[in-house]
Amino acid sequence: MNRELESLDAVFREMPDLKVEHTGPRRTRIQVEADALPTLLELLKGRAGYLHLSAISCVDWPDTEEFELVYHLWSYQVSNLISAHTRIPYDPGRYVSVYDLHAPAVYFERDIHEMFGVWFEGCPDQEPFILTEWQGPPPMRKSFDTVAYVNDTFEWREYQPEWANDPSGGKG
């Protein structure tokens, strides 16, 4: 275990601006600047064996007008999961693809592009996948009010069942 963590420390030494935090057993959280993230992923993959890109998550922070991208990486050798957090601004809402490092990234980046509208430079496939017949804005943004949309688009069934007013369930 120690030997592997040493190699991880070597990575961290090369990139002094990281904020590393061990949040739990086998969980490490790293806060990284947007321009340093690809380097970090490359170092993690090359030096510390973080081969498996488990997921890329996107979080919308409308207060600061930023998207937070979280790259979850798992190392089969070290058995540790690193979540690398970085933030990119709404405008222009573009980031680099890490497809060349981790092939699965193409699915997650496509998904984030579809749901949040973030554009990934270098991602080979950003065609719509789920929302091919969707006309509206990227739905996962906080600014998209799904209840209002539903009220506008769909009708509700108008019925007042008896039992709803009768707490005894219509039995007496």
Partner: protein, 249 residues
Amino acid sequence: MSTDPNQAVACRTVDAEERSLLGRVLDRIADHCRARSLFVLHYCTGCGAIELPPTMTSRFDLERVGMQPMVTPRQADILLITGYLSVKTLKRVVMTYEQMQGPKYVIGLGSCTINGGMYWNSYATIKLLDRYIPVDNYIAGCMPRPEAIQQVFLDLMGRIDRGEAQAWKDYYRRYDWYLGQQQQLFGTNWQAPTDVVGEAIRYRLVGEQTLGSHTAHLERYAPYYDQLGIIRPEPARMKARPQLEVVSR
């Protein structure tokens, strides 16, 4: 029969009472037979589909009441909507429904087909199935048990036997309204491939609301039909086509 839609509106709907005695007897026999041999279109639209394998296979064994899954709509009698429908799926379901031959029946399975159910605030799923296609039976629950599914099938069989399951005729009689609902969701460009108006004329089910402002949208594409040689009810449209240049090698 005239194929002019304007005339066809005047074509009266034939009521069951107005049919001759022989016709009614034949209908009765046909319904009786039909109720005992129903093909269910196995279109797994939502999560309710997970309870269908148990219903169909050895434990609950739907086949003993004469029902079998069928994979194409043309041969199917029942369209089972097994749960929530996203808008993308609804498009396919409407197409599939229109491709089924009458008489056809729709069963909405699960709460989400009745009122949106669990997904009442989802932007992707529809809330009321019967706004888009006529529904014969609903099964409440999330998700309904195989016993409930079977009970509804038996109920539907009884209604078919008695000649009461007539919801499919409503689609022809009020096609304009249904099309309007669909267009509201899919955009006014929406049009299913099936010539429902032609079928309504064929089945003599043209009602007051079969044609209207929404069906008028369909006519916009008439030039395309000519160009592609697609069969339309109006034979006058099939004009003589220009000859192809003869190519010889």
